[in-house]
Symmetry: C3
């Protein structure tokens, strides 16, 4: 399972080319311009607790699969919002995971975990119920060493850049602490303002008050509100941010007059906005964010199309990010039209589009990115951050958008230890795709070498290094 | 064409693994938990008529293709609802089929037919206009023997379980007749209540009256109506049913109060319900059926997303199931939300979701089934019950839902003789898919063996054996 | 890159079969029943200007990719509608193209261009910034010769039939000029009435007046309007047309009474029709066109689902067809229902459906074409006229629609020199697909030979040679 040819196609010719391409990019530094690791790890540099705390509890890819097979989240030690009883015995939880590890066959979680076990912890035998204790003890032993402290792992993993994601009102204390450590250019933040521009965000009413306090602006005034947002963007830029990130339910944008915006803002702040008005507000705010990006140089990432917290009972008991966010059909062509009509021809603006609706790859996203100078396509995202998902991405977008309207790989993860594995999968799959083109005489081998380097390293660096 | 390596990928390594996996599952008993064979065949055990009556006239896959090329259904002997003249000469119809057999190149119908001709009837030469009579005579000869009686074929085909599908008001006489024959656990029924819960079902007004008569309930009372449905479910369970089946136009569900339900029922029975109200009624009834499933243990199958009888002229002349049912875009995330908000966390409930809209595989269905304990994914259905369709299913759902949120194969057919062929195709394609994972070092070979067995046999048994 | 095995799968068995099939069809005459070349070229038979004028400026596939990477259309010499300054130096423009030729890696434009450079112009070295002048001079040299005059190229390319596309009010002067030259059956027109049946067409108000003048009909009268359209169809048929073509935003059709039609026409002509009414008018007109096709035998092509001129600023500056037409989600099942309810069972009618929404291939289009006698599926279109696009088409439609409900290849291009390349790609990909079926024992080799011929040549001829 940890064969050096894993994930390559078996045709001898393609396999040989895949190897040749991969060998040159396998050890390139990791550029991770979008993700969700905790900056506190790197600021404080304390040892991680134990295998269960590090590898299971924070990983909703893992516990959602166990949950889908009838295992209660309480059995996995996931904290209830009401403080109700959940399993406290981390070893016991680890056993539940080990006993059910077969459920992950065919999933990327299994690929990442196997990599972590082998390449990070050095296991030679597989995880199952018989080896569960052996695994648990050995992992914990290692986690307690200096070699497995967060900053040491950054080195070990050859991470050149790691962007975390913070909400607009975050004080960025951990990033501030990194200044002067030599890591301030390695671990940077990204600006995620959903909580202050999406009236349906669970924390909107609180965050908007904080926003006013932090900036001293009158956020009930449309222009004051925009100034407050600009100030926060500037604050994030000072802490290393080169990108903003937007997780709206849809890709809808709008282009309203300032008067209309003021009216909408009034309703939103008064809590009297209808669902349609709140949606329109979000839509307008994406366009505003694009305008600010053009000014301050933050690269704008749009991650739309998820029905968050679909399982209401689970959400009520356990809160957000519990594996029940479900993608929905998404449209880009009509939805982005207002924004693109205003800013689409600006080649100094960069907007990176993501999707969980793969039917838009060839139909909408590749034609849009293959035309508009400001648009690039983000890599296969979330559920599609997987070997098959990445192959579908390349097969569906390349013919229309080419390679140079894409931006390399994002790991987008809070599972720190899986980062090398995820980048390794991406590099392998890209090399496999390029190898197929070479073998089928659709791409010269020399250009494939250049592209392998670009897709593994260069494009991610270039795409996200913007701020003026 | 009947090579033992058919449908396997040709890469030598994958081919060898495919063979190895397939050889262990090829001869496993057939479990067919959802289909449309006629229980009368097994109850009466009479010989089938002739090749045309058995293989062409009931198979809308076959005659729709001939029709699409300009051959009238009358020429194929398909009965008109007005009793108008149609071809009576079965041999002549067989010739039309034979002469046009080339039209089926590349279709699963051709694969199934070739299998039937070779493996069931022993033909060594291909069917075409020259061999049409030879085929026709030899098939009819065999059909007249004891060896080709329905019950003998159940044995010959190694069928362990065969579920038929009957409407809610069916008296299940044929299944009753099977009691005591030793076949009562082999040929079972399934509960399909569309005709009494879908106001737009062509037979709703008649069936609802029958329902009241059969159960003695006042079906104009919401609670009486629900009791009547429960009684019929119980009746079906007594005749072996372990599953219900729901063929609604969409996957919409609702969660109304009893008062709202009573109001809706009144309108539906009075024939005054609007299209939206009839749709809401269907939606509410799916949620009610889920509630009853939780109580009585019937596994709930949802088969949504078909525009039935799209060709109005054909429907008027020939009735339902004439090859003009056309899939439409289908949504699950919003539509199932009411039902899942009520019952989604119940791990004692089992709902199997099907689709004809493959864009929902990776986007909606795999994430839903990869989270909710009550949800499983049915196999590639109808038009996608084919080599390519099955491959797309596995490639698109496995990474998010894994293998164990799927339920093995359904043949879903009224073409009895094609059942071994259809299961053979499914087993081959699953082995091919597993072989690819093994070859690409994404799955250990030992686990692939287990999975081949599970996908071919065990999961279908487990998924459908519920009733308490 | 110009290997004789290009685009074939590398598996040795499939490769051998691909070669065997391809060798028999590689040199078949080209039948191009739908495209956008300029009939003036063939009428006047003048030499083409230079490489830039011929290969870059008219090819929106090429300049949209350069534009997406920040190169202004002015730098590429694309004419502004306001006559504003644009680059005039064709050699300089050629250099911009050559320097950025790497952007096209993985795109069909690169495949076509490489073919043109190698097979048409005889280059042995690749185009890049160093060879740009060499290329430019040599191409221009050749373009100035008799051998590269338009009619000579028709011969050289072995083009048996080339259909151009003209608007309904076109006077077809160039086609008239071809009469008696021996080319009148080679270069034919097609009837594209968007400008007189789509009220939102940019030229509708002008064209509708021309229509009245040309035909002498009172187009304000519904029946007069229809007569005028019939007259134009007849005029086109006299100039060789065998097909009509319809580029509506959606596939919506309608079936209104003549009174309703008259009311709608009144509003449309008065300019008072709402967006919905204009859409309904278009919808009704598709049904009318189908009715006329049934009478006069023109094959009806429907190319729906494009948001035209999405980039408003670009459209305002440069006009239509500038690479910013973006596909949108498209529906066929509901939309075509009115038309099919009226004419669907007519086997003397032929409607060829196209799509840019590949999610409809397996879900809607294949089931529709696999049933309705009047429907056929056009090949992978526009953005999907590419190796991957063609493979997706065959993989997704064949199992339900078979091969014989498809119509062979369309190049659909205004890039004359790319025609042999495009047909070559289509033939290679079809042979590759057939080879896979043969290798996997899903198709006998003899039938694959027949199919290779049919898909490369016969079906295109048959599908489009209708008029009575």
């Amino acid at each position: 399972m940890f064969d050096n040819d894993r994930l390559f196609k078996r045709d001898p010719e393609e396999l040989a080319i895949s190897r040749e391409l991969y060998n040159e990019v396998a050890k390139l530094p990791i550029v991770s311009p979008h993700g969700h690791t905790d900056p506190q790890w790197f600021a404080e540099n304390k040892n991680f607790n134990n295998a269960t705390e590090l590898l299971i509890k924070p990983d909703h890819y893992v516990f959602r699969m166990l949950y889908s097979q009838g295992i209660k989240l309480e059995e996995l030690g996931i904290q209830r919002t009401d403080g109700g009883a959940v399993e406290q015995d981390s070893r016991k939880i680890w056993h539940v995971f080990a006993n059910n590890y077969y459920l992950f066959h065919g999933t990327p979680s299994r690929i990442w975990m196997d990599y972590v076990f082998k390449a990070v912890f050095g296991f030679e035998i597989s995880l199952d119920e018989n080896t569960a204790d052996y695994y648990y003890d050995k992992i914990n032993q290692k986690l307690a060493t200096n070699e497995f402290k967060p900053r040491a792992l950054l080195d070990k993993f050859n991470i050149e850049l790691l962007a975390t994601t913070e909400h607009a009102t975050d004080e960025l204390k951990h990033h501030a602490k990194l200044k002067g450590t030599g890591l301030e250019n390695t671990v940077i933040t990204s600006f995620r303002p959903d909580d202050v521009i999406d009236p349906d965000h669970w924390n909107f009413s609180t965050s908007i008050v904080t926003l006013a306090e932090q900036t001293g602006e009158d956020i009930s005034d449309w222009h004051g509100y925009l100034r407050a947002l600009k100030a926060r963007r500037e604050f994030f830029i000072q802490h290393g941010a080169t990108a903003s990130d937007h997780g709206h339910p849809t890709a809808r944008t709008a282009n309203l007059s300032p008067t209309e915006c003021q009216t909408l803002l009034n309703k939103v702040l008064a809590g009297s906005a209808t669902a349609e008005e709140r949606d329109l507000f979000r839509a307008q705010m994406l366009t505003e964010m694009a305008g600010m990006s053009l000014e301050d140089g933050l690269v704008m990432q749009i991650h739309p199309g998820v029905f968050r917290n679909h399982n209401q009972k689970l959400y009520q008991t356990f809160g957000t990010d519990k594996g029940c966010d479900i993608p929905v059909r998404t449209s880009y062509v009509d939805n982005l039209h207002p924004l693109l009509s205003k800013y689409g021809t600006e080649s100094d603006l960069r907007i990176i589009l993501f999707t969980l609706d793969e039917s838009t790859y060839a139909r909408e996203l590749a034609p849009l990115a293959g035309h508009y100078p400001c648009l690039k396509l983000g890599p296969a995202w979330w559920f599609n951050d997987s070997p098959e998902g990445m192959l579908r991405f390349r097969h569906n977008v390349t013919e229309t958008a080419g390679f140079y309207n894409t931006v390399g790989f994002n790991d987008d993860t809070r599972a720190f230890l899986s980062i090398p594995s995820r980048h390794d999968v991406a590099r392998r799959i890209d090399c496999r795709f390029l190898a197929q083109l070479v073998a089928e005489r659709r791409l010269p081998i020399d250009d494939a070498h250049t592209l392998a380097y670009d897709l593994s390293y260069r494009l991610a660096k270039e795409a996200y290094q913007r701020t003026k």
